[in-house]
C-alpha cells in the first residue's frame, strides 16, 4: 500500500491514500464483475429449461433478448456514478479545514488540480467501461451459442 501511495501519490489530493482508493476501486470492479456473472448463469438456466421442455416434446420458441445481460451489468454504471462522486469528493477535499484549493489554483502546473481530482476516478471509469464491454461481448457470445443450440434442438424436435 505504501509503495502505491508513493508511486501514485500525485494522482490523488495530498493526504489521501492512493493505495487505499485503488484497492477500494478494484473491490468495486470485482463486485460489479461478480454481479454481471448472473447473465450467463441466467442464460444457462433458460437453456436448461428449454432443453427439458424439448425433451418432453413441447416445442417452445427459444427467444430471449439481452435485457438480462443489461440487468446483470448494472453494477458498472453504479460504480461509474460512485467514481464520479469520488472526483467531486476530491474537489471538496481541498476545501475541508482550509482553502487548499487556492494553493492548487496558483500552482505553475495548471493540470495539477484536475489530475489530483479526476485521474483515479477517470481511470476507474475507463477500466469499468472496458471490462463491462468485454463482459457484455462475452455474455452475448455465450447467449448466441446457447440460442443456436436451442434452435438446433427445436429443429430436431420438429423433425426438420
Amino acid at each position: 500500500m505504501k509503495k502505491m501511495d508513493r508511486s501514485l501519490g500525485r494522482l490523488v489530493p495530498p493526504g489521501i491514500s492512493a493505495g487505499r482508493e485503488i484497492v477500494a476501486m478494484a473491490g468495486g470492479l470485482l463486485l460489479a464483475v461478480m454481479l454481471s456473472l448472473r447473465a450467463p448463469l441466467e442464460t444457462a438456466l433458460r437453456f436448461r429449461e428449454l432443453s427439458e421442455l424439448y425433451r418432453l416434446g413441447i416445442p417452445v420458441e427459444p427467444d430471449w433478448g439481452q435485457a438480462h445481460i443489461l440487468r446483470a451489468m448494472t453494477g458498472f454504471p453504479v460504480l461509474a456514478l460512485l467514481l464520479a462522486g469520488l472526483a467531486v469528493w476530491h474537489l471538496v477535499y481541498f476545501r475541508l479545514g482550509s482553502r487548499a484549493d487556492y494553493l492548487m489554483r496558483r500552482l505553475p502546473d495548471r493540470l495539477e488540480l484536475a489530475r489530483r481530482c479526476a485521474a483515479l476516478p477517470l481511470a476507474g471509469i475507463g477500466a469499468a467501461l472496458v471490462i463491462s464491454a468485454l463482459i457484455y461481448l462475452a455474455c452475448r457470445a455465450y447467449d448466441m451459442h446457447r440460442l443456436n443450440m436451442a434452435l438446433r434442438l427445436l429443429r430436431e424436435l420438429r423433425g426438420e
Binding site: 489530493p13 495530498p14 493526504g15 475541508l96 479545514g97 482550509s98 482553502r99 487548499a100 484549493d101 487556492y102 494553493l103 489554483r105 496558483r106 500552482l107 505553475p108 502546473d109 495548471r110 495539477e112
Partner: protein, 248 residues
C-alpha cells in the same frame, strides 16, 4: 513591478472593487489597509486570479498566467495548506511545484517559531497554523508575497516577533503586500500604506514622506478615511439624551 489597472469585481450586484488602479514596486513592504468589507481580500484574490474580475493585473508588463504565477505567493487567514499533511510533507510539495522554494528559509522559520515538523498541520494551535501559513508564503520563493490578515487569532507578542523576522529575512527585491486593519501595529514596519474603502483606493501614503512632514500614519489614515473623532461622543449623547438636556 506589479500593476493593477482599473480592476473591478462584483459579488452578484454588490461592487467589491471599483476601478482599482495601483502598482507595487519591488522591495516594498506595503500595508493594504481598510475596514472590514472594504475590498482588501477581493483585491488580493483578483491579483492571484482566484476571483473573476475586469481590468488588468500585470507582472512586469505581462498578465499573470501559469508561467509567472509562482512569482506571487499568498498567505490567507482562511489558510491554504493541507490540514492532514505534516509541515515536512508541505515542504516537499512546495519544493516539487515551486522551483524557487527557499528550503533554508523554511527551516529557519520553522525553527524560529518552534513548529513541530512531523505532526499534521490540523493538530497545530490556531496561532501556529497562522504562522505556518505565513512561513509557506515566505518560503515559496516569490517576488510578491500577498498576505491577507495573516495574524488573525495570534497574540500580540507573536505578531511583533513576526514583523521583526519579516524585516530581517526579506531580500531587497521581495515585496510584501500585507492586508490588515491593525494599523498601529504595522506602522513601524511598512514603507507604504494603501488605503481602500468601498472597493476604491482612497489613499496611498509613503511612510517616509509622512515622517518628514511629522505626520503619524494612524492620523493620516484617519484623515484619508474622513474619520470623525467626535462621532462616538455624539452617538452617546444622542443615546443618553444628554444633548437634549443641554439644549433645554
Amino acid at each position: 513591478m506589479l500593476e493593477i489597472k482599473n480592476v473591478s469585481l462584483r459579488y452578484g450586484t454588490k461592487k467589491a472593487l471599483d476601478g482599482v488602479t495601483v502598482s507595487f514596486a519591488p522591495g516594498q513592504i506595503v500595508g493594504l489597509l481598510g475596514e472590514n468589507g472594504a475590498g482588501k481580500t477581493s483585491l488580493l484574490k483578483a491579483i492571484l486570479g482566484l476571483l473573476p474580475f475586469s481590468g488588468e493585473v500585470l507582472l512586469d508588463g505581462e498578465s499573470v498566467t501559469r508561467r509567472n504565477i509562482a512569482r506571487l505567493s499568498f498567505a490567507t487567514c482562511e489558510h491554504s495548506f493541507f490540514p492532514s499533511l505534516t509541515p515536512r510533507a508541505h515542504r516537499d510539495f512546495y519544493a516539487q511545484h515551486f522551483p524557487g522554494f527557499l528550503d533554508r528559509r523554511f527551516q529557519a522559520l520553522m525553527d524560529f517559531f518552534a513548529l513541530p515538523d512531523s505532526r499534521p498541520v490540523r493538530a497545530l494551535s490556531a496561532g501556529q497554523k497562522n504562522q505556518f501559513e505565513v512561513i509557506l508564503a515566505l518560503s515559496q520563493g516569490a517576488d510578491y508575497i500577498l498576505m491577507d490578515e495573516p495574524f488573525a487569532g495570534n497574540d500580540i507578542f507573536n505578531r511583533e516577533d513576526f514583523y521583526k523576522v519579516l524585516l530581517g529575512i526579506l531580500e531587497p527585491g521581495e515585496t510584501v503586500i500585507l492586508s490588515t486593519h491593525l494599523i498601529q501595529e504595522i506602522r513601524d514596519f511598512v514603507s507604504r500604506a494603501v488605503l481602500i474603502r468601498g472597493g476604491r483606493i482612497v489613499g496611498d501614503l509613503e511612510t517616509d514622506e509622512l515622517e518628514e512632514s511629522g505626520t503619524d500614519l494612524v492620523e493620516a489614515v484617519k484623515a484619508s478615511y474622513g474619520y470623525e473623532p467626535d462621532r462616538a461622543a455624539r452617538a452617546l449623547d444622542s443615546l443618553t439624551g444628554r444633548q437634549g438636556e443641554g439644549q433645554s
